[in-house]
């Protein structure tokens, strides 16, 4: 009984992290039609920037997290400007932007290695101490992540569904020409979408930096998990992506309990293949 509760809680924690990661991928995809391979690297940049401000300069964790979010957002906007924007409307834009964001991933990873070195780093926790949930013990920091993720997702959803600026992102995603005709600044919308997604990645990184070690390659495993999430959920809608993130997180936690850490990635992967064979646009995606 205890182990089931503990597994549930760790699954929800994983789901929260995947939801924060994958929602950024989803925002960029729905607005720009670009899959950002550098998303995990932006998360890593957020973690390192948070570490520099918080530990390197000794300014404390909250300014550190803010710096991490801001740095990642800035990197995102620069990536959009230099590596995505020149290729809008070209024939193989989807394929080309996969390659340019891969290039961005390599530049960020190797750049981080040159700047911060290979030594492992870690952030302190937001709140020290543990909390017990129905007999399952997790740290307060992890509990805060679990509580924070739905709030952030809700704010993101409110932004894209309820505000004019957020709606303009969706309009641009649906039809760029029509959006431009009614006076939406399309390039500005692209920059906003990319910056917003990068900020989400930076926030995830800064939060994760207290639980895991910060390394130049820390973003690649979450990126692959976020990919599995968007394959399950389809890339098109924020709600489906977030839902899929929690499903995958819980599934992963229970698979680790049942078949062990080594075989879990395979089970998830086989499941993903099975989903794609029957639903080529994702489990919750529309055909």
């Amino acid at each position: 009984m205890n182990s089931i509760v503990a597994t549930l809680v760790s699954g929800i924690l994983l789901g929260s992290l995947y939801a924060l990661m994958a929602s950024g991928l989803s925002v960029v995809w729905t607005t720009l039609g670009v899959f950002n391979f550098a998303h995990g690297a932006l998360m890593m940049i957020g973690a390192y920037a948070a570490w520099t401000v918080s530990e390197g300069m000794g300014l404390g964790l909250l300014p550190g997290i803010l710096a991490g979010v801001a740095t990642a957002a800035l990197c995102g906007i620069v990536i959009e400007y230099l590596l995505i924007r020149p290729f809008y409307g070209t024939r193989h834009m989807l394929l080309v932007t996969v390659m340019t964001t891969l290039a961005a991933l390599i530049i960020l990873e190797k750049g981080a290695q040159l700047i911060w070195g290979a030594k492992l780093k870690q952030l302190p926790r937001l709140v020290t101490g543990d909390v017990s949930i129905f007999g399952a013990t997790i740290s307060w920091h992890e509990a805060i992540i679990i509580l924070l993720a739905p709030i952030v997702l809700l704010l993101l959803w409110r932004f894209t569904a309820m505000t004019n600026r957020g709606r303009s992102l969706r309009a641009v995603g649906q039809n760029q020409d029509a959006a431009a005709l009614i006076g939406i600044d399309v390039p500005y919308a692209f920059a906003i979408a990319f910056g917003l997604a990068a900020a989400l990645a930076g926030l995830t990184g800064a939060l994760l930096g207290s639980i895991r070690f910060i390394t130049p390659v820390m973003g690649s495993e979450p990126l692959v998990k976020a990919m599995i999430v968007v394959i399950f959920g389809g890339l098109g809608s924020l709600g489906a992506t977030a839902g899929a993130a929690y499903v995958i997180g819980l599934l992963e936690a229970f698979l680790i309990l049942w078949i062990g850490l080594y075989w879990t990635p395979f089970a998830l992967f086989l499941l993903m293949i099975a989903v794609l064979i029957f639903r080529p646009n994702g489990l919750f995606g529309r055909a």
């Binding site: 290039a103 390599i106 530049i107 290695q113 080529p280």
Partner: protein, 319 residues
Amino acid sequence: MTSSLRRFAPLLALALLLVVPFLATDSYTRHLFIIAFIYAIVAANWNLSLGYCGVFNFGHLTFFGVGVYTAAIAAKTFGITPWLAIPLGGITAAGAAFLIAAPVARLKGIYVVLVTFAVSQLAMQLVLSQSQITGGGEGMVRIPFLQLGDYSFIRDFKFGYYYVALGLLVLSTLFLRFVVQSPFGKALLAVRDAQDYSTARGISVSRQRILVLVLSAIFTGIAGGFYAIYLRVASPEVFGFGTMSLVLSMVLLGGVGTLYGPIAAALALTFLTEALAGIQGFEEARFIVVAVVMVLILRLAPGGLVSLLDRLRPSRPAS
């Protein structure tokens, strides 16, 4: 004039490459050529699926890695002669390609990228987690090397290895030439350029994609097997972003959808990155240079450098 030059240029290049070991007698220069030949095979075969068929395959290095570990395990753990272990890499790589291709053939657009990419990450995790078989993150070392009777191929400053690598490159190129010029190869171009029309004319796109992935894996896996036997190590880095971006930049620089472009690009980029690695503090930064080169090619010459050359000539129908 230009067309006959085009026909004989590869033969001329081959003749030059055949005499290189007599001009470059040190083992380091020969080593660079051998590594470049291996990358050339991988890049040219990747071009078959990415460039000719238009499959958004981002897991091509998985086939290479499968070849590397097949040869390493066969030769070291099971004591199979390296002469057999190397082609065995091609067989397992083709098998892996078939398994991946079956679901990928039905997918479209970004989902092909995601699944093929996820496969390569999964392969890396498999290698890392099964450390009792693969050596995990440490990799495998002291893999048996090529021998013919009493003659070791490492001797004479890698003289023997040079010609084995060149021979593999020639075989792979002849194979790709045969595939591209066959009716099947023409059908590939037809589907890439006008999918709806070709489907209407009776070409099965998913069958074609499966076949292309399997065909492109054969020599990639053999190259991987040779890589493991030649370097005598197998490490999970072969699945990493660094190797992938390097080979991808070769495909892009050489021109997507050309036969010899990636080979020339592989030679050029191998020597460039090795030169950079020699500069103090550039061991890691050279990958940044490769990434920047990749973006610049996409920005300035999307058809690769070959397309720039073509632009200088009087226009002719694309071949």
